[in-house]
Amino acid sequence: MENNNNHDKYFRELLQGNYREMPFSDFEDEVMDEVAAEHEKKNSFLKNIKVSWLFFFFGIISGIVMAVLSTGMIEDSGSLQVSLVYGLAIIFCLIIVFLADNLFRLSFRHNN
């Protein structure tokens, strides 16, 4: 047991001389530059997410307004045009779901 302790003590003394200081004098500055760039990137990313949500809601509102307006015009026309409008409405809904899903994922992943 004592032999083991001496062994450890000796090894510690022997190896501690091998402790090295960072030999690159510009290391701190370079890391801080990269950290600042990372911070900037994060900020612009947050800004982009906000803008994306804004345009997403703007798109939804515009879509609803257009749909209401076009329904009034279509009421007077034939059944073919009605089914065309329903088809477009379904496509519109799918696009909204797809974009909302992407935006949620992006915002959620970022928060994590």
């Binding site: 022997l14 001389g17 091998n18």
Partner: protein
């Protein structure tokens, strides 16, 4: 002290992060160097570890010391770096079987500066995981439990690695001393 600077950084004071860079760069460099055996690679791994630490600082919950959390990132980055450049040193390479010189012999033959030189060379030759465990245990003074937290290895694996590492070091030093003796006489 660490907690104060963590709060500052999380509140948007990016310059406060310099405290961590200044405080832990040498220890991180030694850890990375023990794994990667090359100063430039070690610098790159430590730099990457700092960026990751900055990016993930909001996830640090304070369950362990900041240094433990950060050095875990340094070890992971160094091991990743090693995997990418697999041609350098094999982390699981075989142990050196040669019997080492007694430690009085090392002291007798070498002066302090020479000792450092040869130990440095020997550290570069032994497998990365052995060098890492030696650095953490003998140079950074971590306990086996702390090394377990840092590396994720089991206690028995760490003890085996320490034993193997000491043997490998003696083996390498013995080889160095033999060639030194041949040059002297």
């Amino acid at each position: 002290m660490d907690d104060l600077y963590i709060k500052k950084v999380l509140n948007g004071d990016v310059d406060a992060f310099r405290y961590f860079v200044h405080q832990y760069k040498d220890q991180a460099f030694n850890i990375a160097l023990s794994v990667l055996k090359n100063e430039f690679d070690a610098r790159e791994a430590v730099q990457e570890a700092y960026i990751i630490a900055f990016r993930k600082l909001s996830k640090y919950r304070g369950r362990s010391k900041f240094s433990t959390w950060f050095f875990r990132i340094v070890i992971n980055e160094s091991l990743k770096f090693l995997k990418r450049n697999r041609n350098t040193v094999d982390i699981e390479s075989g142990e050196s079987e040669s019997a080492g010189p007694g430690y009085t012999e090392i002291d007798d033959i070498l002066g302090r500066e020479q000792q450092i030189f040869f130990i440095d060379r020997a550290m570069k030759r032994i497998p990365s995981n052995e060098a890492l465990v030696l650095t953490l245990f003998y140079i950074q003074d971590y306990s086996i439990e702390e090394i377990k937290d840092l590396t994720g290895w089991t206690v028995s694996k760490i003890k085996v690695l320490l034993h193997r590492a000491r043997k490998s070091m003696y083996g390498e030093l013995n080889r160095e001393l033999s060639s030194e003796k041949k040059t002297l006489y």
